[in-house]
Symmetry: C2
């Protein structure tokens, strides 16, 4: 492709994106395609000769777009809503063009130093003390994996070199609440610690880890000769966005000499809002914290930041410098490949930096505040209707609720809520997801998209009530 | 940002990229910035109020660009040259705009199905049998981590659930050559297997693993009660791009019942060239193979494909489906989150598919063939000069060589070559890297950039000889 052709195709792509983002509501939120339909519409073999770029763009419209679930849709309320803001999208295009691999400082000093600066900016926006140093990983799953690997390294058992098997190492145990994200278990599986070693601690009636239950679990494991090594607290659980009691959990971690990792992948962003920040109290005592700018800070996926109190432990856990990666700068510079399992690294800092600059602290806070207000207004609507219940507190922008008409047993209520969810999602006008709370099928509305306005939330509420009317069991 | 503003800024960004890529040689290949210089030029705190996008673009030019090491430069010969082709860059912009998370089929059916189709296209281009199924990871490090986790799962020791510690599990051992990539050790560290468990097998005089030495090592470990579980063969080692004897290693794997993983992150791409493909003979017997389209197939970083003979083992190793991720489609569809540790997934398939379509099989093969020819021509030049030596065979597009004037001891020759490398890199006209072969400091020239032409390679050779003349020890 010549630069002139790139210019032409590029302008077309920009126009395509501008049009797409002008009105993402033109598409059903949730893709209506049937399994296999997209694949069947594509040739089963690659072309022998190159094709025109225009033909590729045409297939994007004709074949791919109908199979896209539109995370950009302002009524995307499922899981956690995310937004790739426009400045972030442009930064991604530039990063793809620069195409640097920031494995070593030397292989692109600006990529490494911008990552240090942008992540430190984020640290300041979040009000974290300046003894935390952070870097970027792809996802919170990887950040938590790296955090747990660091906690494992901090045991001093030399697991890095000698491994866990065939030697006198007791089972390592990690503690999180029963509401913690599945990435904690996945990290334990990956690290050879084992899923059973993840002790899921009971939660209170607001879905927060019970410190006393945590202490008991640690004591039982210690008595059995096991080796507790890490507590994972959650600041904004996936189901209900509950916040574990961080100051108390930090005290437990200190008392037993355990690593404290805080999973604030979603909730941490709220610290940008001054009047909300208090909810994070205690996280400054953590050893590691994950916050995902691609979740609720308008950075395109993927961008997860991992803050470490002592990055040297993480470096010790992972660093390996073969001859061919030794540089004249040696250890006088940060080589980001040393802080995780992956050698190659995209220039993700560019989109984080661009987004923080474009919105500024006040712009980010305003948008988050609005999302929180929208969620609380929705919760108020739900509470006003006697046939509906809000099932958990709303500390951030996510509401858990269900339809609970009188005279219906638990199983029937579950089935009814499931049908309601399918019905509203089938309209294509909104997309919500579900969870289970105390075993009960529960609906969830999470506000996180930069285009969401009060009308979208009101529409969701209207569609839910319509569906509840239509789906009520025949008497 | 309004769509209209996005259009304006977007066109400017496209023009910026077009101009940058018209002549990447306008910049020194290797950034000349001093450590800390980029960071010092940036504000130490984030802005309170949002800034203009134009100001960000201005800083890109003024502050960041001088700190970029230009992987796009046609004389980037270090490590492995890579290229984010123009169609791939545009696809990345579209993926950032769509901003889907392809964790579940449902959360963007087209992203999942396009990944299955595009990776299968690649499988066909590489001539792999159709019993391999692949998916995309970020980097080869992650692909190898997932492969080794799958091999660990295949032992049937239920390490996923029960972990490795505090039970009767012998040390697991994994075998690779002493020339294998550091990601094998990093995977062993991460997985709790331990770095010591990576048995580095001796290589022959062409830097290929010696099958007999491998068998001996396995037998010694078995006699000691250890548990060999995996062989990692390399198709294109990092230093010399040597190819381990795959058919013999596959026979050893079969004989001992071990998993065979083939690291073809760089070399695998060469299978697209019909007259070169024979070099991959034997890889069709592997259990898993990693090939990186972001390395030598013109896809912007990051895009690593992992081919699996039995993806069900990998799924068993990693799958965990919390209530909130259960979908009406259940297991009738592929949910890509099940095939690794990370939940979130970017829409990486779009750039792979776009690149394969734009170039087609013949276009890719032509470019790879040219790179191979350029490297062989360079090796021929080096061989013709009696003061220089080519230090390893050249199966692909990478040449290992050094300056070996008569009468100089090994240590002095090492130091001299190091000075030569620093001198040519300081010109800003080329960027080469080094390695050590049999303990000797060796220079490396790797051709992999889509813009590299014969003149760039000739220039490198001229600069090297000039530097050798200037850097010769004073008599």
């Amino acid at each position: 492709m010549s630069p002139e052709e790139f210019r032409q195709h590029g302008h077309r792509v920009i126009d395509w994106i501008a049009e797409y983002l002008t009105n993402p509501s033109a598409h059903p939120v949730l893709a209506r395609t049937r399994p296999g339909e997209v694949a069947a519409a594509l040739p089963s073999s690659p072309p022998t000769d190159g094709e025109e770029f225009d033909a590729i763009l045409q297939d994007l419209d004709d074949i791919l777009l109908p199979g896209i679930t539109h995370w950009n849709h302002p009524a995307f309320f499922a899981y956690f809503g995310i937004s790739g803001s426009m400045p972030g999208i442009l930064a991604e295009a530039i990063a793809a063009a620069l195409n640097v691999n920031a494995m070593l400082w030397r292989t692109s000093p600006a990529a490494t130093e911008l990552e240090e600066v942008a992540v430190d900016w984020l640290r300041q926006l979040l009000g974290l003390p300046n003894d935390f140093r952070g870097h970027i990983q792809d996802t919170a799953s990887t950040s938590t994996l790296v955090a747990l690997a660091s906690a494992r390294e901090a045991t001093g058992l030399d697991i890095r070199e000698r491994g866990l098997a065939g030697r006198d190492v007791p089972p390592l145990r990690v503690y999180c609440s029963e509401e913690a994200h599945s990435s904690v278990e996945k990290a334990a599986i990956t690290l050879g610690i084992g899923r059973e070693s993840v002790r899921k601690i009971r939660t209170d009636d607001e879905f927060r880890m019970i410190p006393r239950a945590l202490e008991e679990a640690i004591e039982i494991d210690r008595s059995a000769g096991d080796r507790p090594f890490c507590i994972v607290a959650t600041l904004g659980t996936t189901s209900t966005t509950s916040v574990d009691p961080l100051p108390q959990l930090a005290a437990v971690a200190r008392r037993f000499g355990l690593w404290l990792h805080v999973d604030a992948a979603y909730g941490g962003a709220a610290a940008v809002v001054p009047e909300i920040r208090d909810v994070t109290r205690g996280w400054e005592q953590a050893d590691s914290i994950v916050v995902n700018p691609h979740k609720w800070l308008f950075v395109p996926i993927d961008c997860s930041t991992l803050f470490l109190r002592d990055p040297e432990i993480t470096r010790r856990a992972f660093t390996l410098v073969p001859d061919y990666l030794q540089t004249p700068q040696g250890e006088s510079v940060t080589n980001l490949m040393d802080y995780g399992h992956a050698l190659g690294r995209r220039f993700r800092a560019l989109k984080l930096w661009t987004t923080l600059r474009y919105f500024g602290e006040s712009g980010l806070a305003a948008r988050l505040r609005e999302h929180i207000d929208l969620a609380r207004a929705f919760a108020a609507d739900v509470r006003r209707d006697p046939d509906w219940r809000v099932e958990a507190p709303v500390p951030f922008s996510t509401v858990c609720f269900r339809f609970t008409p009188p005279g219906l047993g638990d199983a029937d209520t579950d089935a009814l809520n499931e049908r309601i969810l399918e019905a509203v999602n089938a309209t294509g006008e909104v997309f919500l997801s579900h969870t289970r709370l105390n075993g009960r099928y529960t609906l969830r509305l999470a506000v996180g998209n930069i285009r969401t306005e009060a009308g979208h939330v009101r529409d969701a509420w209207r569609l839910l009530r319509d569906a509840a009317r239509n789906e009520q069991p025949r008497q």
